[in-house]
Amino acid sequence: MNAPLESVISLRDVKKSFGAQTVLDGLTFDVPRGKCMGIMGPSGTGKSVILRHVIGLMRADSGVVAVEGRDVAKLKRQELMDLRRRMGFLFQEGALINWLSVGENVALPLRENTNMPDAEIRQRVQEKLELVKIPDAWEKMPAQISGGMKKRVGLARALITDPEIVLYDEPNAGLDPEIAQSINDLLRELHEGLRVTALLVEHRVRCIRTVADEVIFLEKGQVLLQLPPREFFASDHPRLVQFLGSDPD
């Protein structure tokens, strides 16, 4: 019998409301080490909110959000910063600092948080730019590059500290199908190569199918279904059928 996989990200009965609107309503799930958990669900069901809880940008009204067994909400400032240095976050629009070049955006965490010599920083940034397949982009400014390229730069920046956990917030948002698929292939490649633990929020079927090891379907702030991708997309659950029936993929 296989030993149960160690849970790296764990949510227990998490509740979160914004005013009168309840977004997360007793959400519970685990992400085992080295696995990529995909989260699907209609807009406004709190998918991105989950990621912001895991990285400590938001606090739950109740319940526990734990990373490697430690309640994120109870971490002191320095402990949270130390934890974040071991995590990567790919924002929906890339969230690149618009007055820094592509290379300096990727180098930022190393320049700000380490005493690494400039030559070593340049080498590591170049490696990451090559990893995300934009080796010649260093000097470009964020305003000069496409949405797909911004995602790649955001991904390179998320990976620059060689994180053990990566959070992806809608990596396909705003991309055409061809570029979206190239991003998905890249994420899969990285996931297989680096074996990071990942949480992937996306409502595009193709992305989840390509990248995730397991899929959660959120409904009314709770887990409605949790299955491996093959079974998930073969499921005849009426709500899932209704949701997927309207998917552009």
Binding site: I55, R84, M87, F89, F91, Q92, E93, A95, N98, R157
Partner: protein
């Protein structure tokens, strides 16, 4: 609406600004490592507003000279015009006008830049990357304006006094040399605190404080911006409004300390 709401909002806003000022002070030792960013911000805030300061300063000096000169001429005291223009410019007009221009240009620009970063997730990205946003975004801007404001004030004072001299000579029949001599003599009076011309260092002290006020208020407004373009617009408006109010109130207290206490 609860009558206490505006008071609460002002108190919270003031608290945020003081907290940000404290955060900047404890990070001052990072300034040498940020010299490049400080220089960039001095260029953006000071060099790009020099022409505005020069034009406004020139005409303010001319207006002061004309308004007071006409009255002084009635009692035959127009040769005192140099003293009045020099003291007005150095004590009040130079620092105040410069700070107001900086609030409208550099302060609003800081609020808009940081506010746009806030509403487009860039500040969240810095947080996630464990990058200290005060060190990266606020410290260089505050130091830059604390340096730029006194420099621009010196320019404003100088051009204002020169402008007053034009009016004295052309409209009030006071020779330029007499005007300049009385201006320099008025400014040479040393103060009790420092053995330097009191009105000059008093004005520059004001400019230094105003520079810090404008930048702290601009950055704080940007950092708390939410809600897209509307939020950035609100941040920019409140940055300029609050900075001008704070400049006027602070001006009174610095004047009181320097000349009354």
């Amino acid at each position: 609406m609860n009558v206490l709401t505006p008071v609460t909002v002002i108190a919270r806003s003031l608290g945020e600004q003081l907290e940000l000022l404290f955060a900047v002070i404890v990070r001052l030792y990072h300034v040498p490592a940020r010299a490049r960013l400080v220089a960039d911000h001095i260029y953006q805030s000071a060099l790009q507003t020099v022409h505005v300061v020069l034009v406004v300063g020139l005409f303010i000096g001319m207006i002061v000279a004309l308004q007071t000169g006409i009255e002084l001429a009635r009692i035959g005291q127009q040769d005192q015009i140099g003293t009045i223009v020099a003291l007005s410019m150095a004590r009040e007009m130079g620092p105040f006008i410069t700070a107001t221009i900086l609030a409208a240009t550099a302060g609003s620009s800081m609020a808009a830049e940081i506010g746009t970063m806030s509403v487009s997730d860039e500040l969240s990205a810095l947080e996630v990357l464990s990058v200290d946003r005060v060190k990266l975004l606020v410290l260089p801007r505050v130091v830059a304006l604390a340096i730029a404001a006194p420099l621009l004030t010196i320019l404003c004072d100088t051009i204002g006094i020169v402008g007053g001299g034009f009016v004295a000579q052309s409209q009030l029949n006071v020779s330029y040399q007499l005007y300049l001599d009385s201006a320099v003599e008025a400014l040479a009076d040393p103060g009790k605190i420092l053995p330097l011309p009191k009105d000059v260092y008093g004005g520059l002290l004001k400019a230094f404080v105003f520079g810090i006020i404008v930048s702290i208020i601009g950055c704080a407004a940007g950092l708390r911006a939410t809600g897209g373009a509307l939020g950035v617009g609100n941040a920019t408006r409140s940055a300029v409004r609050d900075a001008i109010i704070a400049i006027i109130i602070t001006n009174y207290f610095i004047t009181w300390v320097l000349y009354q206490a």
